[in-house]
């Protein structure tokens, strides 16, 4: 009834090719933004913002990054964690050398460092495909992790080997470091994630996105219709690593407040890959769904059983949590291999023809 596009005429091409051509979609988006910008900071408590919303947004951004590479271009990567690490360490080094410059500029700039590293490790993708490429990106993962541990220059020769985020201000308000409030950090993360999501949506709807998808569907055929494989694949690696790098910088600067090299190990890569696959390959909204499910699920599993009066030891909870996550991943794949985004699409289609389905 409500979700129907009848009568919404498009008078020109730009209206027809808009990212959100349907009025109800735009309204829904406005509602979501209203909730995110007004309701959550106003009503949400500090714990909710700090422990749920900020990491959810950051992981969504990383998932979008990986989705551009794996979902849109079809290049399987297991090096996401390391690319996020490059972003975080680049941001750390930049703000150490130039403390006066606005931190947001460095967060974005660190993405470029990550993109450069991504391009280097993306070079084998021209010759190597599928699972072989996944293993090749694991080389990036292990090599970069090793660098973060073994090269003291990255962490300013700290004895602890960890990086500590200094306090930096934006228009006089601290946004990073111990004195920054949850709400400030939330707004900064939200702004960056929204802007970068809009950019990603425009990229995948445009010519570059079409090229990526052609390469994903069959790279040989794509080459024959005149797409330059090397440039296209490397561009995908660059953009994807850029997103991951910014997400990594946000992760350390606006969420953890400090990080050890172990944060960016191979498990983080797997974690992001779960989000992308469960959310839906080749779908931006799926990245958000995936991040929500994979990230929020453990939290729910931790806090739900005690609510029902089930006294379980902490260690047991963790084991059961692992089992449940594993079982749920398999279950989700069986129920809907195309991910949560497909379920969302099906629901929208059902709504569109309701109450007279054909």
């Amino acid at each position: 009834m409500l979700y129907r596009e009848v009568g919404q005429f498009k008078a020109n091409y730009s209206a027809d090719q808009a990212v959100f051509p349907i009025l109800q979609d735009r309204m829904g988006l406005a509602v979501i933004l209203f909730v995110a910008v007004v309701l959550i900071p106003y009503f949400g408590n500090g714990f909710f913002i700090q422990a749920v919303m900020i990491p959810f947004l950051i992981f969504s951004l990383a998932a979008i990054g990986l989705n551009l590479l794996t979902g849109y271009t079809g290049l399987l990567s297991l090096g996401t964690g390391a690319f996020m690490g490059v972003g975080a360490y680049a941001c750390y080094k930049l703000t150490t050398y130039f403390p006066g410059v606005n931190i947001l500029i460095w967060v974005i700039a660190s993405g470029f460092f990550s993109a450069a590293v991504g391009v280097v490790f993306g070079l084998p993708s021209l010759r190597i495909k599928g699972f072989y490429l996944a293993v090749a990106t694991l080389a990036a993962q292990f090599f970069l992790s090793w660098c973060f541990i073994r090269i003291p220059w990255f962490y300013n020769y700290n004895t602890s080997g960890a990086i500590e985020v200094p306090t930096r201000t934006l228009f006089g308000t601290p946004v990073t470091g111990a004195t920054a409030t949850n709400t400030t950090r939330y707004f900064v993360v939200l702004a960056i994630v929204v802007v970068m999501t809009v950019i990603a949506a425009n990229i995948v709807h445009g010519r570059i996105g079409r090229m990526w998808m052609a390469v994903r569907d069959m790279d040989l055929a794509a080459e024959l219709i005149g797409i330059r494989l090397l440039q296209t694949k490397l561009l995908a690696f660059a953009v994807s690593s850029f997103y991951c790098g910014v997400a990594g910088a946000l992760l350390v600067f606006l969420w953890y407040g400090g990080a050890e090299p172990a944060v960016f190990d191979v498990n983080l890569s797997f974690f992001i890959l779960f989000m992308v696959i469960i959310g839906g390959l080749g779908s931006l909204v799926g990245s958000f769904f995936g991040a929500a499910l994979i990230f929020v699920l453990p939290i729910v599993l931790r806090y739900l059983p005690p609510k029902f009066g089930m006294p379980i030891q902490a260690a047991t909870v963790e084991h059961i949590q692992f089992m449940t996550i594993g079982a749920l991943i398999v279950l989700f794949l069986i129920v809907e291999p195309a991910g949560l985004a497909r379920l969302w699409q099906i629901a929208k289609q059902k709504l569109r023809v309701w109450p007279f389905p054909y």
Binding site: L76, P124, R127, I128, K129, G130, F131, Y132, V135, A136, L138, A139, F142, F143, S145, W146, I149, R150, M218, L220, A221, L224, V266, F270, L273, F274, I277, L281, A315, T316, E318, H319, I320, Q321, F322, M323, T324, I325, G326, A327, L328, I329, V330, L333, I334, P337
Partner: protein
């Protein structure tokens, strides 16, 4: 100049002046390589027969070893525990086929790959729930595995061969030979090769895919059990062993996903390359290069042969 000397000349001088150390390093690399190869073998078996890139092979190794040790701790004699563990691996294979593979048949590779990730997490949680997360000592003695080392005087020094390593090498060779015979000479082996060639053609001549998958996963489970015993006897049985599964990946791409001899040769190349690199070039770069050297070796090979050393030639059609 100094750095060039350190990279290209000094390590070889060291090898020349202390050949006993070189032999020792080579031997250790060989043994590590054999163990990598065993894990890679489990991957290859499953990949050949079902096209599934089984990420859970590493955790199956841990799970098998944990089950064996855990059962023994409950007072079950070692050999009975071994038999029971084999039973558990069969149940696991059956369960995986029934609950995971069958509903996911005909899905893209990446989905099946993700499903094995789910299996990995499930087995980690399940194993820890049953047997606890702390590391355990493998019941090597009770199973009759030898201990101690043989010191051999050669090349102006002593080279120590651990008896358990020799046993590992022999058992691995026997197992590979047995698998080769099984694949080449038996009825089931022929069926397995048929399935590996083409699922659809195999189905059409009346081979039951479900049955084959159970057999293959069971075979991979047995390989995992042997690997777990061997690896556990050298160090402890703990979930840290999971890391070695990731070590098997470069072995796989080096040897090719579909080749059993490839897994063995790849394992040995990676094992020896890793130990030599760590021992002679490691001090130059700072220690710990073992963690990525294998991948870089594999990557260099891949740039020249994208299908691995023994993999089937990749032919693309439009």
């Amino acid at each position: 100049m100094d750095i060039l000397y350190k990279v290209f000349i000094d390590p070889f001088l060291q090898m020349g002046t202390a050949p006993d150390l070189l032999v020792q390093t080579l031997w250790e690399g060989l043994v590590a390589g054999v163990l990598y190869a065993l894990i890679a073998l489990g991957f290859v078996l499953i990949f050949k027969a079902s096209g599934v890139f089984n990420f859970a092979q590493g955790i199956m190794v841990v799970f098998a070893a944990l089950t064996l040790v855990g059962l023994h701790e409950h007072g079950i004699p070692a050999y009975v525990a071994l038999a029971l563990t084999i039973g558990v691996m069969f149940l696991l294979a059956y369960g995986v086929e029934r609950l995971m593979l069958r509903p996911l048949v005909n899905q893209p590779d990446i989905i099946l790959f993700m499903a094995t990730f789910g299996l990995t997490y499930f087995l980690i949680g399940f194993g820890e729930l049953l047997f606890g997360g702390e590391s355990k000592v493998m019941i090597a003695e009770q199973l009759g595995l030898p201990r101690g080392a043989i010191d051999v005087k050669m090349l102006g020094g002593f080279v120590a061969f651990q008896r358990i390593d020799i046993a590992a090498a022999i058992i691995a060779s026997v197992m590979v030979a047995a698998l080769a015979i099984f694949f080449q000479k038996t009825r089931i082996g022929r069926a397995l090769r048929a399935v590996a060639d083409s699922h659809r053609a195999a189905l059409s001549v009346g081979i039951s895919l479900e049955q084959i998958w159970v057999i293959v996963w069971f075979a991979a489970g047995l390989v995992a059990l042997v690997t777990g015993i061997m690896w556990g006897a050298r160090s402890d049985v703990s979930f840290a062993l999971e890391i070695i599964a990731l070590k098997a990946l470069p072995v796989l791409i080096l040897g090719g996903f579909t080749s059993i001899p490839g897994a063995i040769v790849g394992g040995v190349i990676i094992g020896i390359g890793e130990k030599l690199g760590e021992f002679y070039w490691g001090p130059l770069l700072g220690s710990g290069i073992e963690s990525w050297l294998a991948y870089v070796i594999a990557l260099i090979f891949l740039l020249f042969r994208p299908q691995g050393l023994f993999g089937e030639r990749i032919i693309e059609r439009i």
